[in-house]
């Protein structure tokens, strides 16, 4: 609220976006890769490009490209596995850096942050100079190869659009004079919150840039996009901040924790399917317990080849926070009640409707409290020796490599967990 009041008085937001984060950090670490086109894949043998270096992007290689397409566009491209520990460590270093420079910082994703300039207006009267200082400090902390875009605007939306559409390594400012020109030139692909489906629907009514929305009446927008998106699109057209950018880190606690994994090949083996479910559930519960939460909506989804998909969920009357409870629901209650008719390539599990455990009704059954005692003992061992030090017999006979370890995602959906002290 303070920020909104100050924004009307001339406050500015800075959006810091590290250029080609995953690939840039790898190039910083390995100097021989600098200046070369690189495709980062999730692991050796994977075929989906999850990040491309600045050099690869010049050939049209994008996040989400298939490796064979990337090689067609750029035969000399190097495919290298991601290092999620490195990305998370670098993000934590960036968080420390930004918080040393400004009192109000929001980490938006692994490689993006918003910084509120208003409290610094006397120290750094020129926000462009402050933007350059941030870029220099990032190089000092992470290395000379790491460059960042800094977009500055009266709200987070315009600051982000500006940084994402400016040349690599630049500092750019949006003001009254250039705001409409920016909104009339930026493609919806570069606008936060607009996915490919919404972009296609906008194109169907002839809208390709946000500024065009100003020439469409409210009733028409609502007819095509419904009550929520019509309002959000109207705000974007006028250069105002849509709801999805408003203080996402202000949540008191996470509302849901999920985990998914895509296999190397289609899986038809029931023992492996059971093990993967247990593995994913154990990670979800580990995070839920560490944040001292409990949840009562359990969902599961599976994908096969060519878009084959199955999902199910159950909303419980009680809150759960034990691996055995959630695994029983995911595997025995939901999965086993389905007659599987396709092999699986992707597994997803989620525990939602989370609430602080202290605020949930307590269980009466002695068995549950017995399970809780065991879980507390495992928590202690996990805290000291690491996740999966003590785990289920479903992993018996498999090597350590069979265990799916936690990893971060680019959008850092579990930031509340990752930034826990």
């Amino acid at each position: 609220m303070t920020n909104q009041v100050s924004a009307s008085a001339g406050g500015l937001w800075l959006h810091v976006d590290i250029n080609s984060y995953f690939a840039t950090l790898l190039q910083q670490e390995v100097p021989s890769l600098r200046g070369k086109p690189i495709a980062v894949v999730k692991d050796a043998g994977r075929t989906c490009v999850i990040a491309a270096s600045k050099e690869a992007k010049l050939y049209g290689v994008r996040t989400g490209s298939r490796l064979h397409e990337a090689r067609q566009r750029c035969p000399e491209i190097l495919a290298l596995p991601a290092n999620f520990s490195q990305y998370l460590s670098a993000t934590k270093q960036l968080k420390t850096l930004f918080e040393s420079l400004a009192p109000d910082v929001e980490i938006f994703s692994l490689d993006e942050a918003f910084i509120w300039h208003y409290p610094l207006r006397r120290l750094y009267p020129d926000p462009l100079v402050f933007g350059t200082i941030i870029q220099n400090r990032i190089r000092q902390v992470l290395g000379s190869w790491v460059s960042a875009n800094v977009g500055i605007g009266p709200n987070r939306f315009l600051a982000k659009v500006s940084s994402e559409t400016s040349p690599k390594g630049s500092v750019s400012l949006v003001n009254e004079d250039n705001r409409d020109a920016l909104l009339a030139s930026v493609s919806f692909a570069d606008v936060c919150g607009i996915g490919p489906r919404l972009e296609r629907r906008l194109r169907r009514i002839g809208v390709t840039v946000p500024y065009q929305l100003n020439f469409i009446e409210d009733v028409v927008l609502e007819r095509f996009f419904g009550p929520y998106w019509s309002k959000q699109l109207r705000k974007m057209g006028q250069g105002e901040e849509p709801d999805l950018l408003q203080r996402i880190d202000a949540l008191e606690h996470m509302k849901s924790v999920g985990r998914s994994i895509t296999g190397y090949h289609l899986c038809d083996d029931e023992a492996i399917i059971r093990r993967v479910f247990y593995n994913l559930v154990a990670e979800v519960i580990y995070k839920v317990r560490k944040m001292n939460l409990a949840g009562r909506l359990v969902s599961v989804a599976l994908m096969g080849h060519s878009g084959l998909y199955w999902s199910d969920h159950v909303t419980l009357k009680r809150y759960i926070r034990h691996t055995s409870e959630m695994f029983d629901i995911v595997y025995r209650q939901l999965y086993r009640s389905w007659e599987r008719d396709f092999p699986i390539i992707k597994f997803m599990v989620r525990l939602s409707l989370l609430k602080p455990w202290d605020e949930t009704p307590k269980e009466w059954f002695p068995d549950w409290w017995q399970q809780e005692k065991i879980a507390v003992a495992i928590d202690k061992l996990t805290t000291k020796y690491g996740l999966f030090t003590v785990t289920s017999g479903v992993f018996a006979g498999t090597g350590k490599e069979a265990i799916i370890r936690p990893e971060v995602t680019g959008f850092l959906g579990d930031k509340n967990f990752q930034f826990m002290e």
Binding site: Q28, E29, S32, Q86, T383, G386, L387, T389
Partner: protein
């Protein structure tokens, strides 16, 4: 791509503003001089905290892992083109 080695090494370095900078390491009876420190990664699994120093020595990039609990050094990985 990085290739795993996981062999014990000894490392000497200097402290600069309370930050350790590796300068040389002893691996398989050879002393390798660190030409450049390119990255530092902190990892944690439970109470086990590791710090990985990515260093360039004679044109090769190595990941030197320091277990902050046991204070042991490993040469974790080497980058092979």
């Amino acid at each position: 791509m990085f290739t795993k080695i996981n062999e014990k090494i000894a490392v000497v370095g200097t402290y600069n503003d309370s930050t350790f900078i590796p300068k040389k390491f002893l691996w398989r009876d050879r002393i390798l001089k660190v030409d450049e420190l390119t990255f530092v990664t902190d990892t944690q699994d439970g109470g086990i905290k590791n710090r990985i120093y990515s260093v360039v020595s004679a044109g090769n990039v190595y990941r030197l892992l320091f277990n902050r609990e046991t204070e042991e050094w490993l040469i974790a990985e080497v980058f092979c083109d």
